[in-house]
């Protein structure tokens, strides 16, 4: 499993949202919460890929600690008391998603992923009806050079799911992230057009794993892009079985 530390057979107990739960030592707060039917929102986390901890949506409060912690990257400890929902957390989560919208150009109504987008449904789930920050409207390219797939930087939230699936599951490591802060961007090989990449195997895993309309099939029109993510748990399971 792709957790920060190895999972052991030793069991520990803790509280999440006032509920007593037990787990194996080494499991993360996010895993244990989900195993117990407690929902914590995420965008960059993907079961089967290494933990990234980048989107910060899964922040939780831990009693005794003034800092918020990312549930996906925090290993459970005996006696922990965790709160996953509070006005403070909800406010931060909304703010994070609003900032994602403000950072690039998301025009859902004409987006190929409209109606099938994790960012969009996250906004709905968090009750976001407006964005309180000024939009940046950056000028970003659509890379339509690949024969079958398209990268639209306007819709990318830099969750790095594509980078990880490409490196860790397909083993190609075509994609990476260049730059820092608002200048960060997904690149292919040595910052070439996707269509010119010599490492891309055209497997399409990145397209299916991408939560938004950033990576899509070419030729899709508005609202037509749907993603199939079931391949990942299957591949993970097969890999674990082989080990």
């Amino acid at each position: 499993m792709n957790t920060p530390v190895d999972i052991t057979t030793e069991s520990i107990t803790l509280q999440i949202d006032d509920k007593d739960v037990s787990c194996r030592k080494g499991e993360t707060v996010l895993q244990v919460a989900r195993e117990n039917g407690i929902d914590i929102p995420t965008l960059c986390y993907m079961e089967g890929l290494t933990v990234w901890g980048g989107c910060r949506l899964c922040m939780v409060e831990i009693a005794g600690s003034p800092k918020l912690q990312a549930a996906c990257a925090t290993v459970c400890m005996e006696g922990m008391n965790i709160c996953t929902k509070s006005p403070r957390l909800e406010n931060y989560r909304r703010m994070i998603v609003e900032l994602l919208f403000a950072e690039r150009n998301h025009v859902c109504s004409v987006c190929v992923s409209n109606g099938h987008c994790e960012l969009q449904s996250m906004a709905v789930k968090l009750g976001i009806d407006h964005v309180r920050f000024a939009y940046r409207f950056p000028h970003l390219e659509v890379d339509n050079s690949h024969d079958r797939m398209r990268m639209d930087h306007n819709r990318c939230i830099l969750c790095s799911r594509c980078v990880r699936v490409c490196a860790e599951v397909e083993g190609a490591h075509t994609k990476d992230i260049k730059g820092r802060g608002v200048l960060a961007a997904i690149i292919h090989d040595l910052d070439q057009n996707w269509g010119e990449s010599s490492t891309c195997t055209s497997c399409g895993k990145c397209v299916n794993i991408c939560p938004t309309g950033a990576l899509t099939h070419r030729g899709t029109a508005v609202g037509e892009m749907t993603k199939k993510t079931t391949f990942l748990p299957y591949l993970t399971l097969m890999r674990e079985a082989q080990l």
């Binding site: 109504s109 190929v112 390219e141 029109a221 508005v222 037509e224």
Partner: protein, 474 residues
């Protein structure tokens, strides 16, 4: 002292129009201009987007006639792919386009224009609107609302959305028609036909009451332009773009859409964001032409459906082959409603209408594409250029309302000269200035204010810029 009268239209949503009437020293009208002060900039912000997104984006140009932009855009994209779309997709697109024409014409005629016709141009503005209509002519108003619903329901059955359906895609449509939906639409046809027939009956009782308006509502000879089928029938989706003169004699046929610029020039005027297209061989502004229902009715030899042709017969017996007054747009619109319903039925009865092959797939095979279709308000042209990676680099749109720009301006001047007297301002004359614009049913949201009248402000301004008089209507 020169005076300027300005009619400001304040609008519900986007779309903003203003009319300026210039008076000379004697207080007589010497010039008039219809300004469109909205700026949409679609040509600019589509740059860099993949072509497959174009129909969806272009449909957003307008919340009132999105389907028309979908059609022209999809046709331009088909051209870029260099594909023939499957015959069933062609029929399905036609059905949606006709449904749009029916619903848009119903809105224009019943909701916006009929209050003037039924209550009179000088009628009390408080009741000269859709609410007055519902009170005094409930059956008539109901017919209008239901005819509009008929068109809208078809659009939403096909596209799963009333506004901005994403169903029309480059290469065809993205889902076939189901038997259940076909039957639902077919079941509504008889009622829709009798509603359209009743509207015509009503219209015949009032159409002769307005000789002065017929005479002065943009009544001058111009060219007319519109699509026409190879057999000379009325056409809204495909075919050649024909220009005819004031006697309905063909002047030119544009069979290759790529050559449209050889026939249509576009003049830009300082006072408006709306370009002024003209028939290039005649130059500017002599190349003035009109588009829309009246133009299509004049162009076509006949409609090709029995009821519409019968009504067209009455129209021609009464007004001749090519009446020049824009007042007759109303009648033409009603004939097209009838035609639209009959044609939708005919298309739905084709045996291949439920075929599931409704989309041709291809990569872009051309770098330049042009799509021409007929919107309710007239000919619509979308012209795109893409790069080798199928991203838009350039677009030019000639919108239906734009084609009529020169004629609307001249029409406003004509009606102002007839009805506006600079010494005092009256509601009735303001309404006529507005009504001549409404004949063309320009696609500006101000012209489709839900109450059937625009909140207006008419201002009398002298040459030094002082405000002399104001007439306000909320």
């Amino acid at each position: 002292m020169n005076k300027t009268i300005t009619i400001e239209g304040v609008t519900r949503i986007e779309g903003h129009a203003r009319i300026t009437i210039q008076l000379d020293d004697q207080g007589k009208v010497c010039d008039a201009q219809f300004h469109v002060t909205q700026f949409r900039g679609f040509e600019k912000f589509v740059q860099g987007r993949p072509l497959t997104e174009m129909p969806g984006i272009m449909a957003r140009i307008c919340g009132i006639c999105p389907v028309s932009h979908l059609m022209a855009s999809a046709k331009a994209c088909d051209d870029l792919l260099a594909v023939d779309i499957p015959p069933t997709a062609n029929k399905l697109r036609r059905i949606m386009n006709l449904a749009q024409i029916v619903q848009s014409h119903a809105l224009s005629f019943f909701h916006l224009s009929s209050p003037d016709l039924l209550f009179g141009m000088d009628g009390d503005p408080a009741s000269r609107n859709i609410f007055g209509l519902i009170r005094d002519h409930p059956e008539f108003a109901r017919d209008g609302i239901l005819l509009r619903k008929f068109g809208q329901d078809i659009i939403s059955l096909l596209g799963e959305k009333k506004i901005h359906p994403a169903w029309v895609v480059p290469g065809g449509v993205n889902a076939p028609l189901t038997a259940q939906h076909r039957d639902l639409i077919l079941a509504e046809i008889p009622a829709a036909l009798s509603r359209a027939a009743r509207a015509l009956e009503y219209f015949h009782t009032v159409r002769d009451r307005y000789p002065a308006e017929v005479d002065a509502f943009a009544n001058f000879p111009t060219l007319f332009a519109g699509l026409i089928s190879p057999a000379g029938l009325i056409e809204h989706y495909d075919g050649a773009l024909r220009f005819v003169d004031e006697n309905a004699a063909p002047v030119a046929d544009l069979t290759d859409p790529h050559q449209y610029q050889s026939m249509i020039g576009e003049a830009v005027e300082k006072h408006s964001y709306l370009k002024s297209p003209y028939f290039r061989p005649r130059g500017y502004p002599e190349g003035i032409y009109r588009v829309g229902p009246l133009a299509r009715i004049i162009l076509a030899e006949r409609c090709g459906t029995p009821r519409a042709d019968a009504e067209l017969g009455i129209f021609r017996t009464r007004l001749g082959r090519s009446p020049q007054s824009s007042f007759h747009y109303h009648w033409a619109r009603l004939i097209e409603i009838l035609y639209g319903i009959e044609m939708i039925q005919r298309l739905l009865e084709y045996p291949d209408i439920l075929n599931t092959h409704v989309r041709s797939r291809a990569r872009p095979n051309r770098l330049e594409g042009v799509g021409i279709s007929e919107a309710p308000r007239g000919t619509l042209i979308h012209h795109y250029r893409i790069d080798e990676n199928a991203r838009m680099v350039w677009a030019n749109l000639i919108i239906a309302t734009g084609n009529n720009n020169l004629a609307m301006n001249r029409g406003v001047l004509q009606v102002a000269q007839r009805f506006v007297d600079g010494t005092h301002l009256e509601e009735g004359m303001l309404n006529r200035v507005e009504a001549v614009i409404r004949c063309f049913d320009p696609c500006l949201s101000c012209s489709t204010h839900a109450l059937g009248q625009m909140p207006l402000c008419i201002e009398l301004i002298n040459s030094t810029g002082e405000l002399c008089d104001v007439l306000q209507r909320d």
